[in-house]
């Protein structure tokens, strides 16, 4: 009798303006009641033509674009760009600069994951409470960045050849104090209030499942890939910039549901703290910038470079080709958020409207990165 009832699906636009699409992202959902039958993601609302702009600005100017790409994690955005320039031009970065870069990148990873966990609480409907708690610690990290290079959101800290400023007095103590005094609080609060909360588990477990083979086939990277059980981290697989001198683990999930991705991010915060502690303890002395870097840095004509890094959201890689000029001939930014969206449809088919928002939240996209 129920099957004889004629029903229709309807299309709803989870439009570019929406409190929970983490930016100007549009999904055309075809719904059968509450169940999602089809998802068509439409992006490009924040397309600023960064790749084209990079062709018209010098190598050093180009670093500023990467700040604005993934605006929640700018330090890790700078990283592959400067690595690509250095590969292209054959620049050797001093070891101290490499360690400082790692400190900045890992602190940024902690900040980005804190924001991601907080905003996931928002998507779950807690009306900003976990967000207020995680942003509290993130503010301190942003203060550390301000101490380091003068800016919270657009640091442009990493430059081709090294970093822009040296570690200021008191940074190390302030950072270690932060790890001792402030981080244990939020690391205890997140399990107590979110991970062990029965409602959160009910909402996140077995929702948005992405099996490991599908994740690899869809070129998913980062915590989303590791949440599916694939133990792949570019910092370990293709080590760059002295990461092979550090000891850290790669947390992975098992089932590839939202809960696993969420827990992987939480665990990665702990690993990042480990790395920063090691870096601060073993920081070598020396210059912070390679000698002979000018504003008009040029690379040999016809050279190419592909620099891969593990950013907060996945594999952020930069392909650069040079024609001998002061600007790159081609600069391609392979952003993790854009490519992780390939798997969105797989994860969402058959789930409910409420799960769409939560799955998008655990996939952790940043529209600046998606659209560039």
């Amino acid at each position: 009798m129920i099957n004889a009832l004629r029903t229709e699906t309807f299309e709803i636009n989870m439009g570019p303006q929406h409190p929970s699409t983490h930016g100007v992202f549009r999904m055309v959902l075809t719904l059968d009641g509450e169940t999602v039958v089809d998802v068509v993601p439409k992006m490009g609302y924040l397309h600023r033509g960064i790749e084209k702009l990079a062709e018209e600005n010098t190598y050093v100017q180009g670093v500023t674009f990467t700040d604005r790409m993934d605006y929640l994690s700018p330090m890790t955005g700078n990283f592959p760009f400067v690595l690509a320039v250095e590969k292209l031009a054959g620049i050797e970065v001093p070891l101290r600069a490499q360690y400082l870069r790692i400190i900045a990148a890992e602190l940024q990873r902690i900040a980005s994951h804190l924001a991601s966990i907080g905003f996931l609480g928002n998507d779950l409907g807690t009306w900003y409470s976990p967000l207020m708690y995680t942003l509290r610690e993130r503010e301190i990290i942003l203060d550390l960045f301000e101490m380091l290079c003068g800016a919270r959101m657009t640091p442009t800290y990493m430059r081709p050849g090294g970093v822009s400023q040296d570690l200021p007095e008191g940074f190390k103590d302030r950072c270690l104090l932060f790890f001792e005094k402030n981080m244990p609080r939020i690391m205890g609060e997140v399990p107590a209030l979110l991970t062990d909360n029965e409602i959160v588990q009910m909402r996140l477990k077995n929702v948005g499942v992405l099996p490991a083979e599908k994740a690899i086939a869809c070129s998913v990277s980062g915590p989303s890939l590791r949440g599916s059980g694939v133990k792949f981290d570019i910092r370990k697989a293709v080590p760059y910039n002295a990461y092979d001198q550090f000891e850290f683990d790669i947390p992975t999930g098992t089932k590839g549901d939202n809960f696993d991705r969420f827990v992987v991010r939480y665990e990665e915060i702990k690993q990042s703290m480990r790395i920063v502690r090691q870096a601060l303890a073993n920081l070598p002395a020396g210059p912070i910038m390679a000698p002979g870097i000018t504003r008009n840095l040029r690379a040999p004509a016809g050279s190419e470079a592909f620099a891969r890094t593990e950013a907060s959201r996945g594999e952020l890689s930069v392909y650069m080709a040079s024609d001998g000029g002061v600007a790159p001939y081609r600069c391609k930014l392979r952003s993790p958020s854009f490519i992780n969206l390939t798997a969105l449809r797989e994860m969402l088919l058959g789930s409910r409207v409420a799960d769409v928002v939560v799955t998008l939240g655990t996939l952790d996209i940043v529209l600046g990165e998606v659209d560039r």
């Binding site: 928002n122 409907g125 900003y128 409470s129 708690y133 409602i199 909402r203």
Partner: protein, 389 residues
């Protein structure tokens, strides 16, 4: 010392009864005046009507003040849960914030979508507001005993002591479902429709445990009238003073079921599926602006106040309490305490998915409510058989 205590007690007693004394004085004066030109029956009825209108105006004024205060209280409370301050700029401690928001909402442009169903869209806020105010007819806000001895006048501060009090409360309270469905449909917006329909389904499902919890209380008290229920509640009485008690002692499960169902009925987090911001932007009230939105928004707080007062009346002993506070203060203190629990829930818990909540209602809460009812009925009949006999 004895005299000092007696003076204080008399002062408190006076505070409690002053409203009743003024009421009676006005009533008698009017009666004397009206009897001059109307026969007795009509005089009595006219004076009754006038006194009821005065009472309604007083209750609506009280509601208005309390809604504004509750909105302020919630914003402050949720902010403190979230480790921040909340509004503290407008006026001392931010108390004028409610008035500032009201002024802002009144002066906003009234935007009505061109393709919205005009009558349904415009009537929805009214349909939300009217039942929210009507239900307060059966809440006893206090109690006064004028005089002493056998001809003492027992005056509960209630607009209408119906002998079907809680039935009236639940029936009229469930009319807000209609308002939400109207708002969802009339907005010509798929999100609003989705929110309205979800809310309709939720509210219908959660009416049942709500009503069953109330029926259990009615069984215990032997009456559906709110005044009788308050009077019949068991209290711990050292030295003859009501200290602590209420049906929460006999019906803890009923209280929990009532509060949980009420959270969903009120469309408050964690049961706010109608307006789940994360998914539906603002659900059924997306298209409303200005005073229409204010009406829906404030009606939600009227409902919250009603539910808190109802739970106070039925489970926490209503106006009863030690004499250090007047009876009406006790009602408000207990209602605010319950509202604080609701605010606490809002700030802390995430929202389950709607199908999980519906499943919970039908598979867990209704069986528990039925068990509660059955146990209560069993207990009452055994009590009557063994003890009263």
């Amino acid at each position: 010392m004895e005299q000092a205590i007696q003076v204080v007690r008399d002062a408190l007693r006076f505070l409690n009864d002053v409203g009743a004394i003024i009421y009676l004085w006005v009533q008698q004066t009017l009666l004397g005046f009206v009897r001059g030109f109307l026969p007795d029956y009509w005089a009595g009825s006219l004076v009754w009507l006038i006194m009821q209108v005065i009472g309604i105006v007083c209750v609506i004024a009280l509601l208005g003040i309390f809604a504004i205060l509750f909105i302020y209280f919630e914003r402050r409370g949720v902010a403190r849960v979230q480790d921040r301050w909340g509004p503290n700029r407008a006026g001392p401690w931010g108390l004028i914030q409610g008035i500032a928001d009201t002024v802002k909402l009144i002066t906003k442009e009234d935007v009505i979508p061109v393709r919205a169903d005009q009558w349904v869209f415009r009537l929805a806020p009214i349909v939300a507001m009217v039942p929210a105010v009507m239900v307060f007819a059966v809440i006893p806000f206090g109690y006064a005993k004028i005089g002493a001895g056998t001809d003492a006048l027992n005056m509960p501060f209630i607009l209408a002591d119906l002998n079907i009090g809680i039935l009236y409360g639940v029936a009229v309270g469930s009319l807000t479902t209609v308002a939400i469905l109207m708002a969802g449909w009339g907005s010509n917006n798929k999100y609003s429709l989705l929110g309205g329909l979800r809310s309709g389904a939720m509210m219908i499902s959660y009416e049942i445990p709500l009503a069953l919890a109330l029926v259990s209380v009615g069984l215990l008290a032997g009456s559906l009238s709110t005044v009788d229920i308050v009077k019949a509640q068991p209290f711990i009485k050292p030295f003859g003073i009501d200290l602590f008690g209420g049906y929460i002692l006999l019906q803890p499960l009923g209280f929990i079921l009532f509060m949980m169902a009420a959270v969903v009925e009120l469309n408050r987090s964690p049961g706010d599926f109608a307006a789940a911001e994360a998914e539906l932007v603002a659900g059924y009230h997306t298209e409303y602006s200005g005073m229409r939105f204010a009406a829906i928004y404030v009606a939600e707080y009227f409902n919250a106040f009603f539910v808190c007062c109802m739970a106070t009346t039925l489970f926490l002993g209503g106006w009863r309490g030690p004499e250090i506070l007047p009876s009406y203060a006790w009602v408000l203190v207990k209602a605010v305490l319950l509202f604080w629990c609701l605010v606490w829930l809002l700030g802390t818990l995430p929202r389950p998915r709607i199908d999980q909540m519906l499943g919970f209602a039908w598979k867990v809460m209704i069986p528990l409510a039925l068990l509660n009812l059955f146990g209560t009925a069993l207990g009452v009949s055994l009590w009557q058989a063994w003890v009263v006999k």
